[in-house]
Symmetry: C2
Subunit: 271 residues, 2 copies
């Protein structure tokens, strides 16, 4: 279906948009099922929080209404919502007032190999490290050159995802996924205070695990800690959960907790 | 004058452009005098080097020809050249092959207060720090949220520029300028191996200073080193050189070396 810009069908954007000039904006990639955005509240909450941190004065009610209308037309697939600070004049200073721009793009559900979810995936060890920038950490902003460089490191189909460390060597995330591990019965995921994208599926799985009585911890994790995990899995808001079975020579079993959270994610995405 | 996209007058851009989606590209801001781009070779060299590092397969001869034709039409002013990896499908993986997009935007020469160059400027101490990312350091890429946040820290006219440190506290640059200092007869400028934009005027002034027999050094500089400098100045490819006279309570005199390099920059920009 055609894209929408500021609520109108349109495939072309002002060349003055600060999203192009500076990556001055945020985005959300949203699974849409039967005309409904999945995990809508979490997507809206992350977008709203990102706008506060980037000082973008967005009308969230308007964006929500446009997203709901767009999703109804899309039916089933993926809605990508981009919010930018809008057109700019010359220079980095945000215009006063700025008029944020909303962009919605629709697509089909990506067709990942079924074996990713069934047998688990192999992680490519990315050499591209994530810089530590607390002011942008957690946000799904439009400055994504690190992910572009990391994803360009491998082309083979053997690796479904890549593992990204920060410049201090901590384990952070996949290129387009968050990472969890299970160790001694505790569900662990890297702290994203310095870098990384705080995914909505990550937040949902943490909440679900806690509501199921599981012990959860968000903290720094190094490569040794990752290797010593009992189970490892990835998640995002489109594919749900993929077990991780290997990183180079190291292998992990696909365990029961991964399967349990995978089923929870599948229920969310198939609902 | 109208913008050019891929050589054609056009104000609208494909909403699928990866410059918008990921900041996946580079830019140059180029002074144009009497139809000629100033410091053309340095701009082209930086752009070409950036494309190599970002794996963008750009036809540099084509871009040069378009820039020259655009500058002839512009006459006097500023040409902003943006190069992106072009349209993308879903996901971070660069399309194979990608078709890079060239965007040219024209504007008038910015009208800075004459006192900036004559009396020197006061630096705002930005709280926004630059993350250390060697893979992107030096490039004038489109991921510029740090500069947007830094420039949003002050609105008063008393501060013409802001000083940016890296997350380790080293002195790096201005928000839209490079920084030089003179200490004991040596011209110093921060090493940009971890972060910062390697400006074309910075490169030109280093080369000119060396050709005038001055001792130059590119190295790490901390705030104490900055305060103890005999002279401090900023530069970029539009305004040339501005002396720095103050950072908070600390003041520097406007010295003879700053004036000498300012005259050299003025000759370049007025030629």
């Amino acid at each position: 279906m055609p894209s929408w810009i500021d609520g109108q069908p349109m495939e072309l954007l002002s060349v003055k948009d600060r999203g192009l000039a500076y990556g001055d904006g945020l985005f959300e990639t949203i699974a849409v099922k039967a005309g409904n955005p999945v995990l809508l509240e979490r997507h809206m909450a992350r977008l709203g929080g990102g706008c506060v941190r980037l000082l973008i004065d967005l009308d969230l009610a308007l964006v929500r209404a446009e997203l709901l209308a767009f999703s109804r037309e899309l039916g089933d697939g993926v809605a990508k919502l981009i919010v930018t600070r809008g057109d700019g004049l010359r220079g980095y200073a945000p215009p006063q007032p700025a008029i944020p721009r909303r962009i919605l793009q629709g697509g089909t559900q990506p067709s990942y190999p079924a074996c990713n979810a069934e047998l688990g995936v192999r992680l490519f060890p990315c050499a591209t490290r994530l810089a530590e920038q607390p002011l942008l950490a957690g946000l799904k902003h439009l400055n994504r050159l690190e992910q572009v460089l990391a994803r360009a490191e491998w082309q083979d189909a053997e690796h479904a995802e890549g593992l990204m460390l920060d410049t201090s060597g901590r384990v952070v995330e996949g290129v387009y996924s968050n990472l969890f591990l299970l160790k001694d019965g505790v569900l662990l995921t890297p702290d994203l205070a310095r870098c990384g994208v705080a995914g909505v599926m990550r937040a949902e799985l943490l909440a679900q695990a806690e509501s199921h009585g599981m012990r959860c911890d968000v903290r720094d994790i190094d490569l040794d800690g990752l290797r010593q995990a009992d189970e490892v899995f990835l998640c995002n808001s489109l594919y749900g959960v993929w077990p991780v079975r290997a990183l180079q020579r190291h292998q992990w079993p696909v365990g029961p907790l991964t399967r349990k959270l995978q089923a929870i994610a599948r229920d969310l995405l198939d609902s």
